[in-house]
């Protein structure tokens, strides 16, 4: 399901995290909500920010920055506080997770020619399944299914 085979057909939701551009497959996006208070959950790995309640459903929110090993949020980071969004992803088996991103840019359908294999290994590269060329910019396609995979708390 994941990887470059199925991806070109999907529309992508382009988001920014730390001024880098990333994309999520639209079929995996259930909804996008404004950032809201996140209840911290103790004793969990750092990439889990906590939980939000969404119309009675309680969903874990993952910090994309930590997951992608990018610099963490600073509490006073002024850049785009009210542009931050929580993208709620839905996995194939109904699994759910919220993803905190800095900004939602657009929905875009890449052509097959615009798709390239993921860049060489690096910090956080395990979550990237492909690289897309969007004009001048490169957009890293996030492997949503991998992100939603169950992992054990430390």
């Amino acid at each position: 399901m994941s990887g470059a085979d199925a991806a070109p057909l999907d529309e992508l939701l382009v988001v920014t995290v730390c001024d880098d551009w990333y994309a999520l497959p639209v079929p995996r996006v259930r909804e996008i909500v404004r950032q809201r208070p996140i209840t911290p959950i103790p004793n969990l790995p750092g990439f889990v920010l906590g939980a939000i309640s969404l119309r009675g459903e309680v969903i874990q929110v993952l910090d994309l920055r930590t997951r992608l090993e990018l610099p963490a949020y600073r509490p006073d980071e002024p850049s785009a506080r009210d542009r931050r969004r929580i993208v709620v992803l839905r996995g194939a088996e109904g699994s759910l997770a919220g993803l905190l991103v800095d900004r939602v840019v657009e929905v875009w359908r890449p052509a097959e020619s615009e798709l390239h294999p993921a860049a060489a290994r690096g910090p956080g590269s395990e979550w990237i399944s492909a690289l897309c060329a969007r004009g001048e910019r490169f957009v890293s396609l996030i492997d949503a299914d991998r992100l939603l995979e169950p992992s054990r708390a430390a």
Binding site: T39, L44, A51, L54, G56, V58, A97, P150, A153
Partner: protein
């Protein structure tokens, strides 16, 4: 040929499934019949609930027989039901002939069951059923005994008499026959609180007599009030009844006094039973006419529902409850302003009515989720039977409380742990017949399953009369595994607790059915994830008892809301024993832990702030201690503030992290914020573990 034998095998299999359930029903009926016979012999007034109970039993038997396609048993149960219905409604006098017929029917059902168990129904059993059914027809078709006193002798409004059901009508007759006083108790209640008041009144009435019927009273009630009429039979005259009920706003009218002359018709419409019954012999007997329709109904009046649909309903309800708190908050805001105070009062009324209905709805949905433990117990009974066959070890299984109800999801989760414990008892706890005789016990061992409700919990006990836990063996094993140090003094309670330690098993051999390395630690972990606790008591040579204590339902809990820093937490109220302000004078440090002297008993404290790493908030006042307990284990949780109690719907926290130690889920209190619900059992467990390692 082979298909015929396959068919008979399938039939035999179905029969076996049916037998254990039917056995229990018949046992219950025998005991009820014995009570009934006692009451009749002593010419005491019989409790109408006895007949009602027998009727329900016969109905269950019929349902089960229908499910397993056992025609003869179904027909017999149906006719049993017929007699009981006739008795219940007073169409047939409750006298010895009827009782004899019932006795015979139950005995015949027992015989059928016996034959079914052996796998065949012989001609003589079938003939016996046929004969009996004939006689039941004759008995039930007798014209009803003429009422000794017409309902007409009761000074009641015709509209009241018409509103009585056939059963209530019969109870009225029956009480008239027994020479009771009949009263009409009219009560007026506040609409907002009438349910409680009415049930209080009902209880009070039942203490001094029989409540025949509760009817809404005709006529206009004052605003915001509601009136009821209760038809009551009692030995007491009106004034005495009034003083015994001791409630204001009651108006009691004697509608029938046996000392007064009675019996002249007053032109009131005749009682319904006579009018409703076909009087002509040409009409088919009611039993025959009702049979096909009745049997269809008994199968289709239950609906199978996917438990997840109930979960969806529960979720919807949870959201409604959130909306309800929003309404309450608005009412409070409006009440603060003088010009809107009146609207606030109206809104508050709406809120209360909404609240009541929502609670009813909640109770209704919860009730649907409940299933009797019977199913689980029966599966265990089958396992024991199989083990008995395979090992030729004589072990008897006693079942008690199979009607105890529990949330369907919990029941599913319980099967494996219970199976484990039962197999353990069979394989390891119960000795060989020779060993038992040598120990002065009967050669046949006994495993007992017992379920009962205790407050908001259900307790299920598996006890055996086997050898008990070998304390020395457990101790040695624990020593060998390094779980305890050689010089550690262990009481028998501590040693029994060691049984739960991971991987500890005193048995080296592995049998077919148990001892595959799944230990009591797994049982305990599974139970803990359901909010339950396991306890073991054992007496060497006398036996072992394992008890499971579980909440009745998982869906909605009453919670105590607490605050630590800015974060709120919910604690299941069932685990909360008390709350008290933390007095620093009573605080002591002992071996890295804070201990509170609670009325002379040491209470280990756990600061939630440390566990959950909340930042201290600026305006903290004096902290509070919430004393929580699971079983015998207690712990004091230190929190900043108590925020009151609330019913909360526990939701799973969905996401890639599946297990979160110390947290059972989260809830939304109406402000779109997730509030964590703490797993008290895990917190206590972790605290006691850190005690062991320190």
């Amino acid at each position: 040929m082979s298909s015929a034998s396959e068919e008979s095998r399938a039939h035999a299999r179905a029969a076996r499934e049916f037998v254990s359930e039917a056995e229990e029903i018949l046992e219950r009926m025998r005991s009820d019949l014995a009570d009934l016979a006692d009451a009749l012999a002593a010419s005491r007034d019989t409790d109408p609930e006895l007949i009602n109970g027998l009727f329900r039993s016969a109905h269950s038997l019929k349902g089960a027989a229908g499910m397993f396609n056992l025609e003869e048993m179904g027909s017999l149960a149906h006719h049993l039901e017929e007699i009981l219905d006739a008795l219940r409604l007073g169409r047939m006098p409750l006298e010895f002939p009827a009782l004899q017929l019932l006795d015979e029917a139950v005995a015949t059902a027992g015989l059928l069951l016996d034959r079914l168990q052996q796998g065949e129904l012989s001609g003589d059993a079938l003939k016996r059923v046929g004969d009996l059914v004939q006689r039941i027809h004759l008995a039930v078709d007798q014209p009803p005994p003429a009422p000794t006193l017409g309902s007409a002798s009761v000074a009641l409004d015709a509209s009241v008499l018409r509103a009585l059901t056939e059963y209530e009508e019969h109870r009225l007759q029956e009480n008239l026959r027994r020479g009771k006083q009949i009263h009409l108790v009219e009560a007026t209640f506040e609409i907002l609180s009438f349910e409680r008041s009415l049930s209080e009144l009902t209880r009070a009435v039942r203490a001094v007599g029989e409540l025949i019927s509760t009817l809404p009273a005709p006529g206009e009630a004052p605003e915001a009030q509601i009136r009821f009429s209760l038809l009551v039979a009692s030995d007491l005259p009106a004034e005495a009844l009034d003083s015994r009920l001791g409630q204001p706003n009651l108006r009691i009218t004697a509608v029938h006094d046996p000392s007064a002359a009675a019996g002249e018709p007053r032109g009131a419409p005749s009682a319904r039973p006579q009018a409703a019954r076909p009087g002509s012999a040409a009409l088919p007997a009611p039993g025959d006419a009702a049979a096909p329709i009745d049997s269809l109904r008994s199968i289709s009046d239950t609906v199978r529902v996917d438990i997840h649909k109930l979960d969806d309903l529960m979720n919807l309800l949870g959201e409604l409850m959130i909306q309800r708190t929003v309404v309450a908050a608005i009412a409070q805001r409006l009440a603060a302003e003088r010009e809107t105070a009146r609207i606030a009062r109206e809104l508050e009324k709406v809120h209360q009515a909404l609240d009541r209905r929502l609670r009813d709805l909640q109770a209704g949905i919860l009730e649907v989720r409940m299933v009797p433990l019977r199913q689980v117990f029966e599966r265990l009974a089958r396992v024991v039977r199989r083990m008995r066959r395979d090992t030729a070890k004589p072990v008897r299984l006693e079942i008690c409380g199979a009607d105890t109800e529990l949330d369907k999801l919990l029941v599913e989760e319980l099967i494996d742990p219970l199976m484990h414990v039962v197999r353990n008892a069979f394989d390891h706890a119960i000795e060989t017949p020779e060993q038992r005789v040598a120990a002065g016990k009967p050669p046949e061992g006994c495993i007992r399953l017992d379920a009962f409700q205790k407050g908001n919990h259900v307790v299920i006990e598996v006890s055996d009369d086997g050898r008990g836990i070998d304390l020395e063996a457990v101790r040695e094993r624990a020593l060998a595994m390094g779980l305890v140090s050689p010089d550690q003094a262990l009481g028998s309670k501590e040693i029994v607790d060691l049984v739960f330690a991971a991987g500890l098993s005193t048995r080296t051999e592995v049998t077919d059915t148990s001892g595959r390395g799944v230990g009591m630690d797994v049982v305990r972990t599974n139970l803990a994830s359901l909010g339950g606790v396991v306890d073991v008591r054992s007496k060497p040579g006398r036996g072992t008892s394992v008890s499971f204590t579980l909440p009745i339902t998982l869906a909605i809990i009453q919670a105590l809301l607490v605050r630590v820093g800015h974060q709120r937490f919910a604690l299941p109220l069932t685990a909360v024993r008390e709350t008290l302000p933390l007095e620093t004078e009573a605080l002591q440090h002992s071996h890295h832990h804070e201990i509170l002297n609670l009325r002379g008993e040491p209470l280990r404290l756990l600061r939630l702030r440390q566990v959950f790493g909340s930042a201290p908030s600026a305006a903290d006042g004096k902290p509070y201690v919430v004393v929580v307990a699971v079983g015998d284990a207690r712990l004091g949780l230190v929190v900043d503030r108590l925020d009151g109690q609330q019913d909360v719907v526990i939701k799973p926290i969905r996401g890639p992290i599946a297990s979160m130690r110390g947290i059972t889920g989260a809830t939304d209190l109406g402000d779109q914020e997730a509030v964590l619900v703490l797993d008290v059992a895990a917190l206590i467990d972790d605290a006691s573990r850190s005690r062991e390692t320190s």
